[in-house]
């Protein structure tokens, strides 16, 4: 909270500075203070602060239900199935919006207005959600989560677009890394602080109940308001920078053509299957993990929230490190298989042992980070560049569809069959992902083994085929699909480009505008 205060004062200071800077900007001859000069690093650092806090509210509030699971269930007299609907309703709008987010930002609203609108959606969604709890109206809470979902994912795209726009070139990887850490920080702080907020409100109000829950969620909505303010300031600063530097408004560069779907290769479909069945065993599990740890391992609610958030905490430092390792060694399919097997092991531990869940959850955090580093870049290998936007949009869309459906299924399973069957269900999902990985390995092997080549072999191939990549500049008779297969050079570049989504440290020249396509689900 002290942190917020600090940021707020920072924000105030900056506003003054910016307003002071405006008349100065009109006078072309006068030099500006470094902090007000859009081309100066110091100014960009200030922008970065707002950029990071832009997503804080939505990340903080996304896991509000998980952090307050026992309270939500008890105060509103819900069962687990209804509770998990809160997560499903977040995912539903994003089945469509994954295709539209980039389009809306580029063509309809522009980055500034788009960001403000998405922030507003997040804000209003959370307020509706809290109001629903306050009035003990569950349907209103679902509406709130739906509205929140409309804003949340697209806001992540907007945030990345801003980052690319302001930091194209040198600092971009660091900026992505920071944004990623901020996302993790939001989730972690939420997990560990909301229980305390609730109990404080309860002692202030005099009793626990849905009123207390509503007030707690309203307080959480404060983070969204704060993020909205960041969006407004960012919009102002961006406009100002545009005027002073005569630069263009940022674009996501996302191009989505649904007809491309028919060209998707078998390998890509297998990657989709891995993506869907892997992530459904992570996020819905975290969504209802708190009660699981309390019931099975006799954890206190605070302990349960802490162990539930360890996945986020671990992935913050692990993502760049693992990303680096994957980048240096190659062999993505092998890494994905390792990650899937480790995750299976973690879920099996949770299902069939009473071992301390810190072990299993830490393993889950590591393997989940590893999978993100190894899986997402693979898409760039099997899809030609002009179809990448569609491929990623499609991947995120079906991922959200999977999350929504599985969230509902998870609630029903817990209510009817309990946690063992739930864990077995998650194991089954991971096993399906594992089958897809094995199939992917063979499909790729028969095609020549692009995906599982070691980094050294890739570098060698790249050297050998560099004349090819020059011919690619000229109009070619070959189709783009053949190109992608024959020209590993471009695939290599693209892979690096997408690694940057995950906050991995990359050579500076490898990041491009396309990185801004990342949605929340990728960043997590």
């Amino acid at each position: 909270m002290a942190d917020f205060q600090e940021r707020r004062t920072l924000l105030g200071d900056d506003d003054e500075c910016s307003f002071a800077g405006r008349p100065e900007a009109r006078g072309p001859g006068r030099p500006m203070a470094a902090i007000c000069d859009p081309s100066h690093l110091l100014h960009r650092v200030v922008v970065l602060v707002f950029m990071c806090f832009l997503g804080f509210g939505s990340y903080f509030c996304y896991d509000n239900p998980a952090a307050l699971q026992t309270q939500v269930i008890q105060d509103l007299n819900l069962n687990t199935a209804k509770f998990m609907q809160l997560y499903a309703w977040y995912s539903w709008p994003n089945v469509i919006l994954c295709f539209l987010g980039g389009f809306l930002i580029d063509r309809v609203f522009g980055i500034r207005l788009g960001t403000i609108i998405f922030s507003l959606f997040v804000c209003i969604g959370q307020v509706i959600f809290a109001a629903g709890a306050w009035g003990n109206r569950f349907w209103l809470m679902e509406v709130g989560r739906f509205v929140f979902g409309i804003g949340g994912e697209s806001l992540a795209v907007a945030q990345n677009t801003y980052a690319v726009n302001w930091f194209k070139g040198k600092e971009l990887n660091l900026v992505f890394g920071l944004q990623l850490s901020m996302a993790r920080l939001g989730s972690t702080v939420n997990m560990n602080i909301m229980g305390w907020v609730y109990s404080e409100v309860a002692s202030a109000v005099g009793s626990s109940g849905y009123t207390t829950l509503g007030i707690s969620l309203m307080i959480a909505a404060g983070t969204c308001v704060f993020s909205l303010m960041c969006a407004l300031v960012l919009g102002f600063l961006d406009k100002r920078a545009e005027r002073i530097l005569h630069k263009e408004q940022g674009k996501t560069g996302e191009v989505i053509k649904l007809t491309d779907v028919k060209d998707f290769s078998l390998a890509l479909w297998l990657i989709f299957i891995i993506c869907v069945f892997y992530y459904v065993a992570i996020f819905p599990f975290i969504g209802q993990g708190q009660v699981f740890f309390i019931e099975k391992f006799n954890f206190s609610p605070a302990q349960a929230r802490a162990v539930n958030s360890i996945v986020y905490i671990i992935s913050a430092p692990a993502s760049p490190i693992l990303g680096f390792i994957v980048d240096k060694t190659g062999r993505n399919v092998g890494w994905v298989l390792t990650a899937v097997i480790a995750t299976l092991g973690a879920h099996m531990m949770l299902a069939f042992t009473f071992w301390n869940p810190w072990i299993a959850m830490s393993l889950l955090g590591l393997s989940y980070s590893l999978l993100a580093c190894a899986l997402w870049p693979m898409v760039a290998f099997v899809v030609p560049e002009h179809q990448l936007g569609t491929a990623y949009g499609f991947m995120q869309s079906i991922q959200n569809l999977g999350l929504a459906v599985i969230a509902i299924a998870v609630g029903l399973i817990v209510d009817l069959r309990g946690y063992l069957v739930l864990e077995v269900f998650f194991c089954a999902c991971i096993c399906i992902a594992m089958m897809a990985v094995v199939a992917l390995y063979f499909v790729d092997y028969l095609k020549g083994g692009d995906l599982n080549r070691s980094a050294a072999a890739r570098a060698k191939l790249q050297k050998e085929t560099s004349p090819d990549s020059e011919t690619k500049m000229q109009p070619s008779m070959m189709t783009q699909g053949e190109h992608a297969r024959l020209a590993p050079m471009s695939a290599f570049g693209l892979r690096n480009r997408y690694l940057s989504r995950l906050g991995a440290q990359l050579p500076d020249h490898c990041s491009t505008h396309l990185s801004s396509l990342a949605h929340r689900s990728v960043l997590k």
């Binding site: 298989l337 209510d415 309990g418 946690y419 063979f442 028969l446 599982n452």
Partner: protein, 400 residues
Amino acid sequence: MAVAVKAESGRVLGILLVFLFSSCQSLFSGGDSYKREVTMQLIPNPSSPPPGGELLHARAVGGNDTLHFLFCSQGAPSLLIVHTNSSSSTVKVNWPQFVNRSTSGGLTVEPESSILYSSAVVFSRLLEYDDENNTAEATSNFFPAYELKDFSWNLMNLSHPKALLCGSAPHSSNGSLCLQLSVFGTEGRAELWPRLLHSANSSQVEVWLSGLLPRSNTSRFMLELQAVGGAYPLSKVDVRQFIDDEYAPSIFKVSQWVSSVNNSSDVLGFIQWKPVAYRRSRPSLEDATPCRHSDPQAQSGNATTASSALVKAFYTDPKVMGMNVSFGIAGDPFYNRTMFLSWTMLVGVGSPPVDSFSPMVIGILMAGLGIPIVLLLVGGVYVFIRKMRESSETSYQPIN
């Protein structure tokens, strides 16, 4: 990579084998195929309607032994189990002596030499306390306890193989406390949660409190149980962790109150329950409320024989252990939210049944782990064959 894949598949195969083994084990050992023929009847009482309560006799005849279940509503409701090594043993009741309650011997099992083990459980008191601070620590604030021997018990309602006994507090028509006894001929589970696994050697008693007006808005309840035995009463409560909660979601423990000979591992008889009660008659996860139990303590036999006619009639020198089961933990909704509480336990002879994974769980795991391995093997063989063929076809080497 091939080596890595092999090593990984080896590891997975190891896990699979362990599962295969454990599932087979559970399939064979868990399947208690012992069967009994169950008959249930009220022991006729010459004076009708019977003064003070009825006596139900359920006979479960096995191959070479018999279990007698006697369920009595004279005084506090009591259940007596007598295990005999003869399939023709009988129960004799001397009604005047039984009703009189002055001396023991009103109920005998003949031949007496055939008795292997006997045990009784008496539902003696229902305690209510005012949990103002919502801590669920029953230390003070007790209301006067409901003595179940003073309840007015209705006639038993028999529907083979179940018997239902309901009663209400004296001078009150509001609400009731009901006990439903089920006697089983085979292994199985009840329809409703907690779906305890029972064998032919156990009976199930479901206790529920319905509509009884609480004496405060923050009332919680406790049930006092007394276990009565001859030489070896039920002495200690084991709480076992169990990873399978599919029959009672979110409950990962099972408590068993066992009697053993000089602390050896042989268990003569048991009362088993899952530490959960339900606040509605259709149990569901959101209406589950955890239960806790106190440590069993030795109690005077005289008080028990005074409250239960059945114990007085059968035992000459009963050893009694008492224990409380309290419903609800701190923060749980109070009784007045639903005005209903139900709790289920098994009473039986021999070792308590041990639960095992359901075939569904085993099946999913087998398929989930098996298919990727099969896929790996088939794919590996295919790729290998293809490679062999390719290498035999291409007989030239690149120059550089």
